[in-house]
Symmetry: C2
Subunit: 210 residues, 2 copies
C-alpha cells in the first residue's frame, strides 16, 4: 500500500487526543517489528498523525518506546491473577493459575513482549526490570500469598514460599515455552497445555502437598 493514506478520520468526531493515537500506533508497530525494526515514519502513518505532531509529544523514539512498554506492562499486570480464589484447595488453585499463566506466556502477545524486552534490555536497562516487576514478580507474590494461607490451613507444607512459587511457575513452562520462543513449534494445543499443567501440579504437590 504505497500512498493510500487517504482514509481520513472523517467518521470519528474529534476522536481521542492525538497523544493516544500516537501511543496506540506505536504500540502496534513496536509489537510487530520490535524497537529497531519499527520506523518512526511508519508509526506516524499507522497512528494517522504527522511526524511533527509525534515529536511534539515524545522527545525521541526511545521515550516513545518506554511509554508503550510501561503501558503494556501495567495493563498486563492488571489482568494477571484477579481470579485466584484464596480459599480453594491447592489442586484447583494451582491448576487454574497455571493454565492462566501458561495461556498468557504462550500467547502471541506474551511472546512478543518478551522478545522485545529481552532484545532491548541492553539498550533500556530499566525496561527488563520494569517488565519483570509488573509481570512475573506479581504472580510470584500472589502465589506466595496463597501458599501462606494454604499452609496455615494445613493444605500445604512449604518453608520457602517464594522459591515454591518460582518452581511452580517454571514447572508450568516445561519446555513448551522454550520451543515456542525458538520457533520450534508455532502454537500449542489445549491437550499439551493440559498435560503440562496437570504434571506441574502433580510434581508440585508431591513435594509440598499433604
Amino acid at each position: 500500500m504505497p500512498p493510500l493514506a487517504a482514509t481520513r478520520n472523517s467518521i470519528l468526531p474529534p476522536r481521542g487526543r492525538k497523544y493516544d493515537q500516537v501511543l496506540e500506533g506505536a504500540r502496534q508497530v513496536f509489537m510487530a517489528d520490535g524497537f529497531e525494526g519499527a520506523s518512526v515514519d511508519e508509526i506516524a502513518r499507522v497512528a494517522e498523525v504527522s511526524k511533527a505532531t509525534l515529536y511534539k509529544y515524545f522527545a525521541d523514539k526511545r521515550m516513545l518506546f518506554m511509554e508503550v512498554a510501561n503501558n503494556e506492562c501495567q495493563r498486563q499486570a492488571g489482568a494477571a491473577l484477579d481470579n485466584i480464589v484464596l480459599a480453594a484447595p491447592p489442586r484447583e488453585v494451582l491448576g487454574q493459575t497455571g493454565r492462566h499463566f501458561l495461556g498468557f506466556i504462550t500467547s502471541r502477545f506474551g511472546q512478543q513482549i518478551f522478545r522485545i524486552c529481552v532484545a532491548e534490555s541492553d539498550r533500556f536497562p530499566e525496561l527488563g526490570r520494569s517488565f519483570y516487576e509488573s509481570g512475573p514478580a506479581v504472580m510470584r507474590a500472589e502465589l506466595a500469598c496463597y501458599f501462606a494461607q494454604a499452609c496455615a490451613r494445613g493444605e500445604l507444607v512449604i518453608d520457602d514460599y517464594i522459591l515454591a512459587a518460582d518452581q511452580f511457575g517454571e514447572l508450568c513452562k516445561a519446555d513448551l515455552w522454550m520451543r515456542l520462543i525458538f520457533g520450534v513449534i508455532k502454537e500449542v494445543s489445549a491437550a499439551e497445555i493440559d498435560r503440562v499443567i496437570d504434571n506441574a501440579v502433580e510434581t508440585f504437590l508431591a513435594r509440598y502437598g499433604t
Copy 2:
C-alpha cells in the same frame, strides 16, 4: 582505539586462513552487539581483514551471522553433558547435571547467545530451531536416557521421560534465570545456585524418587 590496526600479524607465520579470522572476528562482534548492532566494518576491523576480503568469503551479513551462530551452537553442544555418569544414583546425577546446566545458562556467554537467538529468530527462523536442537534438546535427550536406565534399576519411577527431563530443567532455573535475562540481577552467587539446585532435586525426587 581509533586506528591502532598497525599490529600486523607479523608474529604468526601464515596463521589460520583469512576465513577463520573473519569468522572469529564476527563471533566476537556479533556476541557483543547482536545482529543489528554489529557493523560489517567493525567485524572487518576486529578480524584484521579488509571488507573486500570478508565479502569474498561470505555472500552477505546474514550468511556470515548464520555461520557464526551454527558454529557456536555446535561448539556448545559438544561440551554439553560429557560428564554424566549413567550408573550414579539420581540425587548425585541430578545435582551435577543441574549445576552444570545452570552454570551454562547463567554464564555471560549463555545469556548472550540466548538473547541473540530470541531477538533474531524472526529474521532467521532456522536459527532458533538450530540452537534449540543443539542445546536444550540435547540435554533433554541425555537426561531422558539416564532416566530410563535409572528406572530400570528401580531408582526412579517415571512414565514420561521427556516431560520429566523438561520439568527438571525448568526447576533448575527457578526464577534465577528470568531475573538474569531481564537484568534484575547482574550475577548469581554460588549459594543461590546451590539453594535452587538442591530444591530442584528435592522437588523432582519427591515426585519421581523411590
